[in-house]
Amino acid sequence: MSFVEFNNVTFGYKEDDYLLLEDLSFSAERNDIITVIGASGCGKSTLFRLMTCLETEYKGSITINGKTPKEATGTAAFMPQKDLLMPWRSILKNVTLPLEALPMSKSVRISQAKEALEKVGLSGCENKRPSELSGGMRQRVSFARTLVQLWHGRELMLLDEPFSALDSLTRISMQDWLIGQVKGLNATVMMVTHDVEEAMLVGNKIFLLSGRPVKQIKVIDVSHINCREDLYTPSSVELKNELVSAFLTEKAEMGDNI
């Protein structure tokens, strides 16, 4: 059995009169690093909402490590698109936040949060407020907040367009930074992105979503791309062009809603 399994899942938001996913099946193996790409509004983030039990009204079956999302609450650590740091909490207290839902002493929480901040290169920022940090640093704090959850039984990391709000130069440095972070994790990672290069660089597999509703996912192996230089080999350039062309075709088919 795969670590994440979607079997014939059909889903649409109540307020919309159309389906986003129809009879969709796919699976992800343990310790896979998957990047999910597709046109805007095609349902990429919805996959995460279904896996984290934020949406429960769907048809078909979803399992994470053999359990339904409801039973698997506590399996996925979610990093949202915006950092969503609480302005009234210090950086350290923002990172301890998910640990406050777990039975552990305050001193353990603090030491683990400090360790996570050290891992993301933000030692010394513990007592700062989120407003004192740059966009890239705030995203790293958000990553640290997700990271500490992986140390407590969470085996699936869901990253929802974590760098979309950053400027291009910061995004490039954050992508390189993220590769080092996720490849050393003992967890299954799924990351939604709308950046083709980011998808090729960070993941070892790309899930390409297309159509509305999404009926199937095309899986592309990019495990041979390990660093930024690998993006410029002829095969990588060809793949990139294929993906961009798939996007453009999608756009032409769906009108200009992308």
């Binding site: 039990c53 650590a77 302005p87």
Partner: protein, 247 residues
């Protein structure tokens, strides 16, 4: 200090203008000058500050306390239970169309000339802004933040204390600052309708004696009290809420 200078200068300008107009009219029972009011406050300092100001402030504080407990409690219940919100919110808004000044004499009839009829007026006037502001503050917590906490496995109670309560604090302080002058106004209004002490009662007594400066004196004391209490609350707010500009 520099940023308050225009307001201070405007205030001083208005006082000078008032002084000039009052001197031209030269009828203190109609429009006493600021200097005449100041002199009157000094002359009446004993009854004003030892009897009537404490009486009015007691009504104000009891009224405010009851309004805060009721308003915050109701706001929390409405936020937690949608059914209660749907049932009560329109009713609370409707109660604000009832002119408190018109029904206040009834309170004297029901509760007598003691402090409770005045407290009720103060509560009715301040209850609404506190409830609505705190309720809106609780609702201002972003849905995506709430969802993130849910993915962390937080319970509704934990989400309330870790997200909604701090998010509502700025609204709570705004409501309190708005409610303080209203509470003082409610207390004074209640005293006007019937009381044995208080600044409203004192002002009414001076009016029957056609003592213009005597009518103004308690009004000035009321305004100064309101400003002082609001300043104290603002100082506490600045100390507690350092993130207001970030949300």
């Amino acid at each position: 200090m520099k940023k308050h200078l225009p307001a201070v200068l405007t205030g001083i300008g208005l006082l000078i203008l008032w002084q000039i107009i009052a001197m031209c009219i030269n009828a203190a029972y109609i429009l006493p000058s600021p200097t005449q009011i100041t002199v009157k406050i000094w002359e009446l300092r004993d009854p004003l500050f030892t009897v009537h100001t404490p009486a009015t402030m007691l009504v104000t504080l009891i009224g405010l306390l009851i309004s805060v407990v009721l308003g915050v409690g109701l706001a929390v219940v409405m936020e937690r239970f949608e059914g209660v919100e749907r049932a009560l919110y329109p009713v609370i808004v409707t109660t604000q169309t009832i002119p408190v000044t018109a029904i206040a004499p009834l309170f004297v009839l029901w509760l007598g000339y003691g402090i409770w009829s005045k407290v009720l007026v103060a509560v009715l006037i301040t209850f609404f802004p506190i409830t609505i502001s705190v309720h809106d503050g609780l609702k201002s917590a972003k849905r995506e933040n709430e969802e993130l906490l849910r993915t962390m496995g937080m319970s509704s109670t934990a989400i309330f204390f870790k997200l909604k309560f701090p998010a509502a604090l700025p609204s709570f302080f705004s409501a309190i600052k708005m409610a303080i002058p209203l509470s003082i106004l409610g207390a004074a209004m209640g005293e006007w309708l019937g009381a044995q002490s208080g600044l409203g009662y004192f002002s009414k007594r001076m009016m029957t004696q056609l003592d213009g400066a005597g009518v103004f004196a308690p009004v000035v004391v009321l305004a100064v009290c309101a400003m002082l209490v609001v300043a104290v609350i603002s100082a506490i707010e600045r100390k507690l809420i350092t993130w207001r500009k970030e949300i």
